[in-house]
């Protein structure tokens, strides 16, 4: 019979693999994990926290700009989405980054409806990723608290 640790480790591996296969994460997230070490054991969690703060701030800026119907500052929206695209790329948030690319295109062509729709999707997507990563970090904590080691997952 599997021990609790083995069960948790298997859940962790399966969940991690699913995040990559479903396109939530890409190789850059793997690169971040490589940088986590005994000197900075919470490095990944710290970086993704900064990323989610970026999401909140930049999405709010863009929503405010798009609210000025008839007088939308598409340059401001464009610059905010460029920043968000950059930070999503840096943490490996693949779906968020993809939506930022689409949003940028809508912005460049001053497609108001497209921008509004896309921004809503970005908002949903980052919140979904945030919840999933929280689940992943919770699993890690449970493994450590049970006395186990967090397994290396080969994607």
């Amino acid at each position: 019979m599997d021990t609790l640790i083995a069960q948790l480790q298997r859940r962790f591996c399966d969940f991690t693999i699913s995040l990559y296969h479903q396109g939530f994460l890409d190789d850059q997230f793997t690169e971040l994990k490589k940088l986590q070490d005994e000197c900075s054991p919470d490095f990944v969690a710290e970086v993704v926290t900064l990323f989610f703060e970026d999401c909140e701030k930049l999405i709010s800026n863009m929503a405010r700009a798009l609210d000025q119907t008839g007088n939308v500052d598409f340059k401001l929206v464009g610059s905010s989405v460029h920043q968000l695209k950059g930070s999503s790329s840096s943490v490996g948030a693949k779906r968020v980054k993809g939506l930022c690319v689409t949003l940028k295109e809508c912005c460049d062509s001053q497609n108001y409806e497209g921008c509004v729709r896309c921004l809503q999707q970005v908002d949903i997507e980052y919140k979904t990723l945030k919840a999933k990563l929280q689940d992943l970090f919770n699993l890690e904590q449970q493994i450590v608290q049970a006395g186990g080691r967090i397994p290396q997952v080969d994607i």
Partner: protein, 139 residues
């Protein structure tokens, strides 16, 4: 890459006491770039835009390597690179940006960069910068 693997790749890096300046307005990128540099044993500082980078040098600061973002408020990477070169600064400057079209890359290189890497930076890309800029001496 572990510290041992880095030491194998760049045997003289630990003894070289290199310093670097991270110039980027994104907290996410600042954190990642600093961690990458720390992993390679490179002492580093961070500023949030090109003007702060220029001010650091005007106040007598000096670094072996500058990792320069392109898009920043107040003074962007192209303007900052030009200004530093006009001041006679010879530090190696590596441009790091998500903008990858040839025109933008050319404009950034012509401002005075020594190298260019597309973000996001990784250990391999940073090692590539260090190799290209001869910060690594083969024993």
């Amino acid at each position: 890459m572990t510290r041992d693997q880095v030491a194998e790749e760049l045997p003289n890096l630990a003894e070289s006491k290199l310093t670097a300046l991270v110039v980027d307005d994104s907290f996410v990128n600042q954190t990642i770039h600093q961690k990458l540099l720390n992993r390679l044993g490179i002492k580093n500082d961070v500023v949030t835009n090109g003007k702060e980078a220029v001010d650091v040098y005007c106040s007598g600061g000096n670094y072996d390597l500058i990792l320069m973002d392109m898009d920043m408020p107040i003074m962007n990477g192209i303007q900052a690179t030009k200004r530093l070169r006009e001041m006679g600064i010879e530090s190696k400057i590596a441009g790091v940006t998500t903008r990858a079209n040839e025109g933008e890359k050319k404009e950034f290189m012509e401002a005075g960069l020594n190298d260019f890497q597309e973000k996001p930076l990784t250990i391999s890309k940073l090692l590539s910068i260090l190799h290209k800029l001869n910060f690594y001496v083969q024993t």
